[in-house]
């Protein structure tokens, strides 16, 4: 395998580095592949490496004691993951699986330290990447901590279904619902599943059927 220097150049971690610096970093990069649904690592394991997605898509998620999965973020080509565990020397904070066949570039944890020591520009870049990560997770924590999102989604569904004629109502994507209730798409998916488990709605392929309006109203009322 050969690590593509042009690709390295496009990664935010390595922005602003010259070719000689990128060449020295390239020697520390390894390639790894994974098939769809294959674990790249699991939550709680010691962190081995920092990864960058070259092609394909990876999801980072946590699993509750009841086996429910909460996606924390989706990692697309050019983006990194497992940064936090590599930098704080702790275990992996979440699990990562391939959502499709993926090609990854990895750098072993000890080599990451060497790169940061030898290339101060990388340290500055890492600060920016980690700050973005904190911002993303802070927003997610807010949504997950307060049950208001579930009530807002329930309210949206009730108002939407009861307002005007069916033919006049535009259909909504999860992204649009997220924008309407002020949350992330992942949280809307989780809320819809929760309402379905409650028996308040049924997701019938591309149709959300409100089967127990009273239960929905109660969910709205819980937060009033």
């Amino acid at each position: 395998m050969s690590v593509d220097i042009e690709f390295l150049k496009s990664i935010p971690y390595f922005a602003g580095l010259d070719v000689a610096e990128l060449e020295s970093i390239r020697r520390l990069v390894f390639e790894r592949t994974a098939q769809r649904d294959e674990f790249i690592f699991q939550e709680g394991e010691p962190a081995q490496a920092l990864y960058f997605v070259v092609s394909g898509v990876v999801k980072m998620f946590k699993t509750s004691a009841e086996g429910k999965e909460q996606i924390l973020c989706i990692i697309r080509p050019g983006e990194s993951f497992n940064d936090v565990a590599v930098f704080d020397n702790g275990p992996n904070v979440a699990s990562a699986t391939a959502m499709a066949p993926v090609v990854l570039y990895g750098i072993n944890k000890t080599d990451v330290g060497v790169i940061i020591r030898d290339h101060p520009q990388v340290a500055a870049n890492v600060t920016r990447v980690l700050a973005e990560r904190v911002r993303h997770f802070a927003s997610l924590v807010e949504d997950l901590s307060f049950r208001t999102v579930l009530s807002r989604v329930a309210k949206l569904l009730l108002e939407y279904a009861e307002n005007g004629r069916k033919a006049e109502r535009p259909r909504l994507t999860q992204q649009e619902m997220a924008a309407m209730v002020g949350t992330a798409r992942e949280i809307v998916g989780r809320s819809l599943r929760a309402l379905e488990e409650k028996g308040a709605i049924r997701i019938d392929r591309h149709r959300i059927v409100l089967i127990d309006k009273e239960a929905l109203r109660e969910t709205v009322g819980e937060m009033m």
Binding site: R36, S55, G56, V57, I74, R76, P77, M99, A100, P101, L157, Y160, A161, E162, K166, R169, P170, R171, L172, T173, Q174, Q175, E176, R185, G189, R202, I203, R205, H206, R207, I208, V209, L210, I211, K213
Partner: protein
């Protein structure tokens, strides 16, 4: 008509991530553009919409009250 995800062609950048995550072969890339292939295997998982970096894929829902 069998409801499939929808593509906003103007937004598609041809990255192909949707094709990669689709497990039912409901999407293909033609001339660097994602194209829907209608298939009953599509269970509307909405992963294609979730991974699209440009918002070019929509999986819209009708919201209806159950008829008694």
């Amino acid at each position: 008509m069998f409801q499939m995800p929808e593509i906003i062609r103007e937004l598609c950048n041809g990255c192909g991530l949707c094709v990669l995550v689709c497990s039912c072969k409901g999407l293909v890339l033609i001339e660097n553009m994602a194209v829907i292939v209608e298939t009953v295997e599509c269970d509307y998982c909405t992963l294609c919409e979730a991974v699209c970096p440009t918002g070019a894929i929509r999986c819209p829902y009708e919201i209806v009250i159950e008829e008694c």
